[in-house]
Symmetry: C2
DNA sequence: TATTGTTATACTCTATAACTATA
DNA sequence: TATAGTTATAGAGTATAACAATA
């Protein structure tokens, strides 16, 4: 969503966070494009890896997105052989969504991409400074209820 | 653009920055909605305030956006009386874009919104910690060429 | 009747290309 | 011919509502 600019105080921390967050997202998007993945696909893979076998409804709730949006997303990853839809014989309305072997391989590649991304982004800082930064960011995230490892995106946003 | 999730390492600083950046943007968007402004409008106002009298071409270059996009943006702000297009008698192709008195008033309101936003976002930290955070973020932003006070958004992004 | 997944549709935001008016 | 601004058009991404199958 989000366009090219934000806030009035030229360089408060809030503005820097918005700036750096957009930059981090852009760079990460470029990196995963080489794996032929988009950020939404990557996020879905992560949730499936963490909670294998869940229904699409549960995955949608976990991601905070409308269930309809998951259909195309799951379709795409399934067609590429990264995930599998398994029918539940007890309740034939549900699918159980799992990673495939190829999907697990992709997760390992994503871990490498993430490490390189982290290194690039924090390259200006010493090891000690990185720990300080991580601690401060973690506390801010915690007080704003962002600690679950799921990117909030812009859901729940009343856009004008 | 950006969807609901990003990266593999559950809580590296890169992921935290993306998370917090999206959160900061969302909260700021909510706040300026009460002034009936969107983030792109706010960013344009800031650039005009900093460089009054520039042409739309220059403003577009400054924001890193196609000039066509500025037309509707300038239209909207002009219709609400926040900015003025002034013809240049020497070269009647150009406009010189200026803030109006009402626009300057809006800038003051935006400054207040920004201060409240900054306070809310960093409320978990002490005064000292806020200074440390600001210093670290500033250094990271600098090494990635983000220091101009203009939000990069997702321009130049090769999206899949 | 309620729920899972799906399809159809519409809306927002943005970019690209074609046009006008001035130079 | 080149440039500033504009309009028209198309595309990506997302959400809402209606629908089919199953419970």
């Amino acid at each position: 969503m989000v366009p090219f600019m934000q806030e009035p105080p030229p360089t408060g921390s809030a503005f820097l966070l918005a700036q750096l967050g957009a930059h981090a997202t852009r760079r990460f998007t470029e990196r995963i494009a080489e794996l032929d993945l988009t950020p939404p696909q990557t996020g879905l893979l992560r949730v499936i890896a963490r909670r294998p076998g869940e229904s699409q409804q549960v995955l949608a709730a976990e991601l905070g997105t409308p269930p309809t949006r998951l259909v195309a997303l799951v379709d795409g990853l399934e067609q590429r052989g990264l995930i599998e839809r398994r029918r539940n014989p007890q309740d034939r309305r549900l699918y159980a969504v799992h990673l495939s072997d190829k999907g697990r391989e992709t997760m390992r590649a994503l871990a490498k991409v993430g490490a390189a991304h982290e290194e690039e982004l924090t390259s200006a800082l010493s090891t000690e400074e990185r720990m300080v930064l991580h601690g401060l960011l973690g506390r801010i995230a915690e007080t704003h209820g962002l600690s679950q490892g799921v990117h909030p995106g812009y859901r729940d946003l009343d856009r004008p």
